[in-house]
Symmetry: C2
Subunit: 706 residues, 2 copies
C-alpha cells in the first residue's frame, strides 16, 4: 500500500480537525446527528460545522463555507444533498482538505444520472488528492482513545475493542452496532464504506493489517468488485507474522439474493461459487450470518489460537454435553481423549457418579470447586487444544462462584476457552463475569462449537502450503496463430485440439482428413485401432447423428466406417456440410473428469473442475478458481470436490493421476488468461488413468468471442 493511501486513511481515522459540511440545527436528522456525534463522542481534534446562514451549531461557531475556516482541515464530512455534494467537495479540494466522507446517497445506486454524478466526485478527488469514503454510507468510527471519532450517524459510540468492522451496506451498520452492544462487543474501527468511489474494501484491509488496534477484521460485502485484488490482498493479510483473520459475509449467495442485491446497489454479483473460490484462495473465512461472524470474532479477538482441533467439554448436565459433542463432531472438531493422568485426577476430584470421560459431567449439584478441579485437569492435558464449559442453572449451582473459578483457571492457561451458561436471566450474573474477563460466552454450546470450527478453518489456512504462480512453458504464439483470424463461435474440433496442444495439454495425435484414403493413411501412421469423428459446422452433437466410430481395427473397417458415416448423415441431416473426419487413436479408459473455463463478467477468466457425468449434474460436486492458478491452488481445487476419494483410489482401485489433472488445470488457467478471445471452454471428458498412464483429452469445445 503506497504512502499516499496510508496518509489519506490516516486523515480519515486520525484527523486533527474535521469539518462537517451541510449541518442543520434539527436533532434527529442525519446532518445534525453526524455533527453532534463527533461533538459528543469525545473527539480529540477540532470540529468545525459548516452551515451556511448559521452562526453556531450546538454552541460551536459555524462557518458559511469550508474555505472560511481559518485553520487547516484534515477531514470533511459531507452531508449535503447529492446535487450539492460536488460543489462542496470541490471547495474542500481547494481548501486543501486531505480526506472526505460523503454520507449522502443518490449516486451510483440510483442509476445512470447517479453514475455520472459519482464519476465527477471521483474526478475531483483525483484532482485534489482527496482520500474519499463513500458516498452513500453511514460514516466512520474510530474508538482509539487518541482519536475518539464517531463521524457517523450511528446513535452511540461503541466501546473500544480489537475487532474492526467494514460494511458495504450502511443500513446494516446501525443494526450491527446495536447487536454488538447487546453482546458487550466493541470495535477498534468501524467503517461503512458505501459506494467505494474512493477508498475500497481492499485499501481498508491493507490499512487495518497495519493497525495496531485491530486483531480481527469483519467484512460485509454485496459485490466483489475486484475479486482478484481482494484475493491477493487478503492472502497477505491472513498469513505471515502479522496475520489477522478476516471473516466475511458476501450476500447475494442465491440467484434471488443476487437479484435483490443488484437492484439495491446497482452492482453485479458474479457467480457465487466463484466468490467461494476467491475466499478460499484468499484465506477469508466466509460465514453467512452476523451471529456466526461475531461468535467466531470474539473467540479470535479474546482468546489465543488453538494448537489443534481437540476439544474438552466440561458440563454439569449430560444432555447439553451430548448436544455439544454432536455439534463439535459434525463440524469436524475432535473430542479429546484424555491422558491417563488426567483421568486419574478427575477420578480423584469428582464424585463417583460423575462422568470422567470427555464430555466430563461434573453432575447437576456441582459447585465451583468441582468445576475448577475438572477444568484445571483437562486444560493441562496434552491432548486438549481448547475447552468448552457448559453450565445449566440447577438449584445448587453457585453461578457467580463458578464463573469466577473458570476465570481463575483460564488466567493460568494459554489454551482457548469458550463457555455456555445456558439460559437467560438466571445465568446472567455469571455471563457478566465471563465477558468482563474476555472469555467468550454463547447462549448455546452448539454456537460455541461452530465458532471453534470457524477458528479451525483459519488454523488450517495458516498451515496451507502456498506457492507462487510460475508459468509453465507453453507455445502461446502457436495458439494465437490458430485463433487469430477465426470468427466468433465454436472452434472446429481439430483446431480446438491444436490450441490445447500448444498449451501442453495431453491431446491425442489427430488429423482432419478430407476423404477415406487420407484417413487410412493417417491411421496407418498412428496405428490402429482408430477413431473417426465427423467434422461439420452444422453438427454440434456428433453422437446424435452417429458421427463417431470407435475401435476401428484396420483399413477396411476404417474405410467402411467413413463411407457409412457420410451416407448416414446424408440421409438424416442432408443440410450438413461435411468438412471431413477427425482421425485419432483410441484413448484408454479412465476416470471421466470435466475441466472448464469461462470468462466471468465480474471475475474475468475462471476455471471449473468436477468429476464427469452424474457427479456434476446430480450432486453439483464442482469447484472453481480464478485463472491462472498456481500449484497450491490447483491441488486445493482438485481436492475440494467431495468425490475426490474416487480419484484417490476408493474401492481398492488404483489412484488416478492427480498431478496430471492439476497440471492440466494450471495449463488451462494460463491459456484462458493469455488468450482473451476464449469465452468458454470445456474438456469433457478428460480421461484420467493411473499415474503411469496419465490423462488424455477425449472431447473439447472452445468458444471464441467476437
Amino acid at each position: 500500500m503506497d504512502q499516499n493511501k496510508i496518509d489519506g486513511l490516516d486523515s480519515i481515522f486520525y484527523p486533527k480537525s474535521v469539518a462537517v459540511t451541510g449541518v442543520t440545527q434539527t436533532p434527529g436528522t442525519v446532518p445534525y446527528d453526524i455533527f453532534y456525534n463527533i461533538l459528543a463522542s469525545g473527539y480529540k481534534g477540532v470540529l468545525y460545522p459548516v452551515a451556511p446562514g448559521k452562526k453556531s451549531i450546538s454552541a460551536v461557531k459555524a462557518y458559511r463555507y469550508v474555505s472560511d475556516i481559518e485553520a487547516d482541515v484534515d477531514l470533511a464530512v459531507i452531508v449535503f444533498p447529492a446535487m450539492v455534494v460536488e460543489k462542496a467537495l470541490e471547495m474542500c479540494g481547494k481548501k486543501g482538505v486531505k480526506a472526505a466522507i460523503i454520507i449522502s446517497a443518490g449516486f451510483r445506486e440510483v442509476g445512470p444520472e447517479g453514475i455520472k454524478r459519482e464519476q465527477r466526485i471521483k474526478d475531483i478527488c483525483a484532482e485534489y488528492n482527496i482520500s474519499l469514503i463513500g458516498p452513500n454510507c453511514l460514516g466512520v468510527i474510530n474508538t482509539d482513545p487518541t482519536s475518539m471519532l464517531n463521524a457517523s450517524f450511528a446513535r452511540k459510540m461503541p466501546s473500544e475493542d480489537r475487532i474492526a468492522f467494514l460494511s458495504q451496506s450502511g443500513a446494516l451498520c446501525t443494526a450491527v452496532l446495536d447487536y454488538a452492544r447487546g453482546k458487550n462487543i466493541g470495535f477498534s474501527k468501524f467503517v461503512s464504506f458505501g459506494n467505494m468511489a474512493g477508498v475500497t474494501e481492499i485499501d481498508l484491509l491493507h490499512y487495518l493489517h497495519q493497525d495496531e488496534k485491530t486483531d480481527v477484521i469483519l467484512l460485509y460485502l454485496e459485490e466483489l468488485r475486484d475479486g482478484r485484488g481482494l484475493m491477493e490482498a487478503a492472502k497477505k493479510i491472513t498469513r505471515g507474522e502479522n496475520a489477522k483473520p478476516i471473516l466475511a459475509i458476501k450476500s447475494g449467495r442465491t440467484p434471488q439474493g443476487a437479484d435483490a442485491a443488484s437492484s439495491h446497489t446497482g452492482s453485479l454479483a458474479g457467480e457465487d461459487s466463484i466468490c467461494d473460490a476467491v475466499f478460499r484462495e484468499a484465506g477469508i473465512i466466509r460465514v453467512n450470518t452476523l451471529d456466526a461472524m461475531f461468535n467466531a470474532a470474539i473467540l479470535l479477538a479474546y482468546q489465543p489460537m488453538p494448537a489443534g482441533n481437540r476439544v474438552a467439554i466440561v458440563t454439569n448436565a449430560g444432555g447439553p454435553g451430548v448436544m455439544a459433542t454432536d455439534a463439535a463432531v459434525s463440524w469436524n472438531l475432535d473430542i479429546a481423549r484424555f491422558e491417563p493422568k488426567t483421568t486419574a485426577k478427575l477420578q480423584e476430584s469428582l464424585p463417583a457418579v460423575a462422568n470422567i470421560k470427555n464430555p466430563v459431567d461434573v453432575i447437576g449439584d456441582a459447585r465451583s470447586d468441582r468445576y475448577e478441579a475438572a477444568l484445571d485437569a483437562v486444560i493441562k492435558d496434552a491432548n486438549v487444544d481448547q475447552t468448552l464449559v457448559i453450565l445449566t442453572p440447577q438449584s445448587m449451582t453457585d453461578i457467580q462462584e463458578i464463573a469466577r473459578g473458570i476465570v481463575k483457571v483460564q488466567e493460568k492457561s494459554n489454551k482457548p476457552m469458550a463457555c455456555s451458561f445456558m439460559g437467560a436471566s438466571d445465568v446472567q450474573v455469571g455471563v457478566d463475569i465471563l465477558e468482563r474477563a474476555h472469555i467468550p460466552h454463547y447462549i448455546l454450546p452448539e454456537l460455541a462449537c461452530k465458532a471453534m470450527a470457524n477458528v479451525q478453518r483459519i488454523c488450517k489456512w495458516r498451515q496451507t502450503d502456498l506457492t507462487d504462480f510460475a508459468p509453465l512453458p507453453v507455445d502461446k504464439a502457436a495458439a494465437q496463430a490458430i485463433i487469430k483470424d477465426l470468427p466468433k463461435g465454436y472452434l472446429r474440433e481439430d483446431q480446438a485440439l491444436d490450441v490445447l496442444k500448444a498449451y501442453g495439454l495431453p491431446v491425442p495425435e489427430h488429423k482432419l482428413c478430407k476423404n477415406a484414403d487420407e484417413a487410412v493413411a493417417f491411421a496407418e501412421k498412428i496405428g490402429y485401432p482408430a477413431v473417426l469423428r465427423v467434422i461439420s459446422p452444422q453438427i454440434v452433437h456428433k453422437f446424435d447423428v452417429k458421427g463417431v466410430a470407435l475401435g476401428l481395427k484396420n483399413a477396411e473397417q476404417l474405410k467402411k466406417a467413413y463411407e457409412d458415416m457420410v451416407a448416414h448423415i446424408g440421409n438424416v441431416l442432408p443440410e450438413a456440410e461435411i468438412t471431413g473426419m477427425l482421425v485419432r487413436g483410441m484413448i484408454p479408459a479412465g476416470h471421466e473428469v470435466i475441466l472448464g473455463a469461462k470468462r466471468d463478467p465480474v471475475f474475468g477468466p475462471t476455471l471449473m473442475f468436477g468429476l464427469g457425468g452424474l457427479f456434476v449434474e446430480v450432486f453439483k460436486d464442482v469447484t472453481f478458481a480464478l485463472a491462472p492458478i498456481d500449484e497450491g491452488a490447483a491441488s486445493r481445487m482438485v481436492r475440494e470436490i467431495k468425490a475426490v476419494s474416487i480419484l484417490q483410489g476408493a474401492r481398492g482401485t488404483k489412484a488416478a493421476d492427480m498431478a496430471g489433472i492439476e497440471e492440466c488445470l494450471r495449463r488451462l488457467g494460463q491459456m484462458v488468461s493469455d488468450l482473451d478471445r476464449i469465452s468458454e471452454l470445456d474438456i469433457n471428458p478428460l480421461l484420467v488413468g493411473p499415474a503411469e498412464q496419465g490423462s488424455a483429452v477425449a472431447d473439447v469445445r472452445i468458444r471464441l468471442d467476437g
Copy 2:
C-alpha cells in the same frame, strides 16, 4: 390411550392433593425447593409435606408418613434418596396414591444395581396402579390456572402459554426454562420424564394431543426406546383434525455423541439415520438445537399456518433484505412475485428510490406510515403466504410506532408474520410491543427464515398421502421351510434367491448344478446366454477367484467355462470345496440400486435403499425405514435420496421402474418382519430397467442368526 393411563396422567397434572415425601427444612436443597415451589406457585389443591421428625415445613403442618395424612392423596412427589424411594413408594401405594413423581436419581443410569432398583419401583407401580413420572427427573409443571402446579425444582414458574415441553434430560430443563423466559415464552405443560420407568414420552404425547391447553409439543430425547411406538403415536398426533406439531431434538446424532449419551443415560442410541427415518415417517420435525426448536415453536403457537411457502419481505435496509432472501431461498422458501395491483399500490405509497420488488425496501428513513402501507399491500397479495418484516434502527426510525403499525396490520390478516428488529438495546422497545402481540420476533432475519422453513416441513407432512400397511401376497411358509434347519451364517446363493422368490422379488430363474452336464441341461431349458456362478462355502467374493462367467452363448461355451472354473479355483484356492455352480440367464443392464435389511438392536427390522456403487460409498446417499413399510413410506424412501433424479430419467434417459423398486422394498420389509432369523440382507445390485422391463436381483447375501 386407555382411560387408566389418562386418569393417571390427570392425577399428575391436575391432582387435588399433593404430598411431597422427603422434604427437608433447608432452602437451596432439592427436597425443600420442590415443596416450596408447589407452595409458592399458586397451586389450587392441598399440599402435604411428609418429613419424618418435623412438625411443619414453612408453616405447613408436616406428616411423619404419607399414611398419616388424613385425606386422600392424588399425587406423591418423592425426593428421598434412591435407597429409600422403594419404601416410600410402597407406602404411597398402600395409601391409595394415584400417581407419583420420583425426582431422585440413582436408578437405571447408574448401572446394574440401579437397574434392579428401578425394576422394583416398576413392580410396585404395577401392583398399586400408580402412574409414575421418573425417576431421575426434574419434575412436572402445569401452568393451567385450574391447577398451577410447579412440582419441580425449577426456580421459577413459567408463564402460561400454548407450548408443551417434554425432556428426557432433567438438567437441560432448568436451562430451557431460563432460556424460554428470556424470550418471553411460556409453557402449557413442562415435563422432565427422566428414566421413564412408568409414563413414557409416548404416553405424554397422547395426553398432550388431547390437552386443550397445548398447541405445539417440543420433545428432547436421548434414546428412542420404542421407535416404532413413537412413530405410530406421532403419526396420529401430527395429522388429522386435531393435528399438533411435534418438534424434537434427538441428541447423540454422531457416534461420539451417542457414546456420550449412553454413558450418561445407560441407554443405547440406535443408528442415527434410522432415527431420521422414524421421525420422517412420524411427522416429527427433527431439529438439532434449542433455538431452532423454539424459533419454530413460537411461529407455530402464535401464528396461523401458512397456505404455502411464498414469503414477502419488507425491510428498511437493503443488506439485511438480501441476506434474508439468501436464507429463505437456501431453505426452499419462495420469494413471492407480487401481483400487478400490489406493485401499483407500493409504487403509489413509497418514495421513488424505494425498491418495490420483493424484498421491498422502504428505505432507511422510513417511518411507520411507510411500513404500514407496504405491509398492508403485500399481505393482501394472493401470491403471498407469509411475511417477514425487517427493521434496522436508523436515525429516523420510530421503532415503537412501527411496531404498533405492524401489529395493527397483522391483526386484520390471517397470514403468518415474523419480524426481525435487528440489534439489541435500541430495538427492544419495539420487540416488546411485537412479543406482547404474539408476533414472533427474531434477532436476525435468517433465524425467522429458518423457522418458516421448519413450519413448511410440517405443512408438507400434512399434505403427504398416507397409506395403511397392506401385506402383499407372499409364500411365507416356503421361505420358512428353506431356512428352518439351516445353521447360523450366510445362506447359499441359490437358497437366498429362493427365499427372495418366495417373497415375490424378481429373481432370475436359476439352479444349483452339480456338474457341467446338469448345467447345460438347465441352460438349454431357460435359454442362452447363460451365467455361471461358483457355489462354495469357502468362497465369499466370487469375482476374486474368477468364480463368475457371463454371457455364455451355447452348450460348448458353458461346458468349457464350467471346467475352466473348477480347474482355476482348484489352483488358486485348493481348499475350496465346490458345491456346484449356479446357472441362470443374463440380466439386462439397468441402474444398479442396493436394497438392504438389517435387524437393529434398538429398532428391530430396518430397511436401507440407495443407488449402487460410488453413490452409497462416497456420497452416503442412502435412506432407511423401519420394516415393514407401506406404499407411501416406500415411495418417500425411494424419493429421499439425492440421486433420485437419475432414476427419474436425468440426462434425457428413460425413467427407471420406480414402482418396481418400491414393491421390492415392501416385499423385503415384509420378509424381514416375518422371518426373524434374518439378521442381515443385501441385494447388491438390483438391476432396474425402464418400467416395461422391470428389475432383477443380480446378487444377494442373506445372513441368519443362530
